[in-house]
């Protein structure tokens, strides 16, 4: 078991080196050099330029620069934002809880709806229920989520007036950010109105972001259930005279869930991708919104650091999912 875990961890080292190379290359591939980008349109006299290049270490050979860059990254130094002059990793850490909160609720929504929908579709195969679930999930899978988010806002916020249009909480509440997770912070402040406001702000973004994972989970659950329902042990359970629900929940579902759990874990990349769009539309103050602003304002340290951090998170989560899969399914461990 330990050997399996170690092997998996060693395997991500080259991937991580690749990601740092990509982030490093980003700064060097953009038109003009970073010094030019700082000076902007005004230009700069050659002596000052030389001094700045030296200051940033940009006059050294590329391999040396790369090694120095990795050293900085490993010490947690990702540079300073060109627009806010704040430390990039500090900015990321301040905003990241908002993205986690959103992604968590989106995933919760997709599992709560997608899992039962997939099970129903499998049990009632080739019925209206099955076609409905599959139709909805195919549509969800093909949905441009930025448009879907707008439709949700149009209907629930503008037409029905049930939910707020954007942001994390109404302006009238001033909750001290201790954890960065709005729901926890509002609960700790003891202001129930603030908690309700934060919760209502979460609903639409979570649905918008959770729709594609929902479609994927429903499809995966259905096909996995269909496969398991054909197994001998399910037939045996039925032959023993067990009630139908017990066969489905205890015997079939437990085994059908193994691939589904993997798929759920793999949604993290999709969620972070989707968060860029969802956060932009709902003015959600998370890392997706921050990254897009970074790209639009040509704030390269932000883009570079953001990409590196998001990629690291995705790689780490995929690694954990991979290892969990090995724990659940011994056949993988020994492969």
């Amino acid at each position: 078991m330990l050997a399996f875990l170690l092997r998996r961890i060693v395997l991500i080292v080259p991937t991580f080196i690749g990601v740092t190379l990509l982030a490093f290359a980003l700064i060097h591939l953009i038109p003009g050099d970073p010094v030019e980008n700082i000076s902007g349109e005004r230009g700069m006299d050659p002596a000052r330029r030389e001094r700045l290049l030296h200051e940033f270490g940009l006059d050294k050979p590329l391999p040396v620069q790369y090694i120095e860059y990795v050293g900085q990254v490993l010490r947690g130094n990702l540079g300073t934002s060109l627009t806010t002059h704040e430390d990039v990793s500090t900015e990321f850490l301040t905003l990241f809880p908002a993205t986690i909160e959103l992604a968590f609720f989106a995933l919760l929504f997709s599992v709560i709806v997608g899992l039962p929908a997939g099970i129903v579709a499998a049990i009632k195969r080739n019925t209206v229920a099955d076609y409905a679930v599959m139709g909805v999930s195919l549509t969800g899978y093909s949905m441009p989520i930025f448009w879907w988010a707008l439709l949700l806002i149009l209907f629930f916020s503008v037409y029905l007036g049930w939910t707020p249009v954007s942001g994390r909480i109404s302006v009238e509440y001033d909750v001290p950010a201790t954890t960065g997770f709005m729901l926890i912070d509002t609960l700790r402040s003891g202001d129930f109105g603030a908690f309700r406001s934060a919760l209502s702000h979460l609903i639409l973004p979570s649905i918008a972001l959770g729709t594609i994972p929902l479609a994927v989970i429903a499809r995966m659950t259905r096909s996995s259930m269909l496969e398991v329902l054909r197994e001998d042990y399910v037939r045996t359970a039925r032959a023993k005279g067990l009630p139908r629900w017990q066969v489905i929940v205890v015997h079939a579902l437990r085994n059908a869930l193994i691939p589904v759990i993997t798929v759920i874990g793999l949604q993290v990349g999709l969620l972070l991708s989707g968060a860029i769009l969802t956060e932009t539309i709902f003015s959600w103050p998370g890392v997706g919104n921050w990254l897009i602003h970074g790209v639009q304002s040509r704030d390269y340290p932000v883009v570079q650091g953001g990409i590196l951090l998001v990629a690291t998170i995705v790689i780490t989560v995929n690694l954990i999912v991979d290892m969990l899969y090995g724990v659940i399914n011994p056949r993988i461990r020994h492969a």
């Binding site: 953009i30 195919l138 441009p144 707008l150």
Partner: protein, 299 residues
Amino acid sequence: MPELATPAVGTGAPPGRLGEFWRSYAQSRGALIGLALVVLLVLLALFADIVSPHPPNEQYREFTLTPPAWDPGGTSQFLLGTDPVGRDILSRLIHGTRLSLLIGVISVAISLGLGIVLGLVAGFFRGLTETIIMRVMDVMLALPSLLLAIAVVAILGPGLINAMYAIAIVLLPHYVRLTRAAVIAEAGREYVTSSRIAGAGVLRLMFNTILPNCAAPLIVQATLGFSNAILDAAALGFLGLGAQPPTPEWGSMLSSALEFIQRAPWVVTFPGLAILITVLAFNLMGDGLRDALDPRLKR
């Protein structure tokens, strides 16, 4: 794809490979709907100038934000209404079909071509070459697709052409992995060995002998890649990183009308619907192709 090159056989005779493929494909109603929609979209794109009632960038200043024809305030002159500067939405959508399909064709063609070559090289030569190629692909797969596309656009600068390159890069690892896996599976087969003994050179072995036998999964992936390309291009356009106004690209049409969403919901509704229908059509077709070309995957 040799199957597609074989002429269909008339009734009475046993079905040829194309006939067999079609029978299998036509079993799925979804696949047929997808195909019909794709054909319709291609026709719209080809004849956009003839079909669309107005030029896509013509501004009818006295008709700004006219609602669709079925609305009491609408006029039959503009079936789906007009946008904030008085351009006909239907005409812009029809011309947008051309752009979206073009984005799909170009980005899939670039990444498929490059992916096949890299995959063939990795699968054929193995060793260090393979390790390097596959590690790079792993890094690309580790990044969420839209994030990678944004990184590429950050380097190249925003614009329609750069968005296509970005999407091609995002799609690339899938084709490389598929080709490599298929090549490794095929390379040990007897027909490859016999071809090698008969004196076939490396290039002939790679492209003439092995490649045609790896085509099925690639065709399926290319179709699904089409829908990803269209979706990502629209997302980039929406974020202001893809096609720039006044190009009638669906994603940028949507974002440029965002402030009017409450007063004139149709300026936002129809471009999104166009994206959804197109992506859905290619997904349906891809699923159908997978079931028909690769019966092992069919459950």
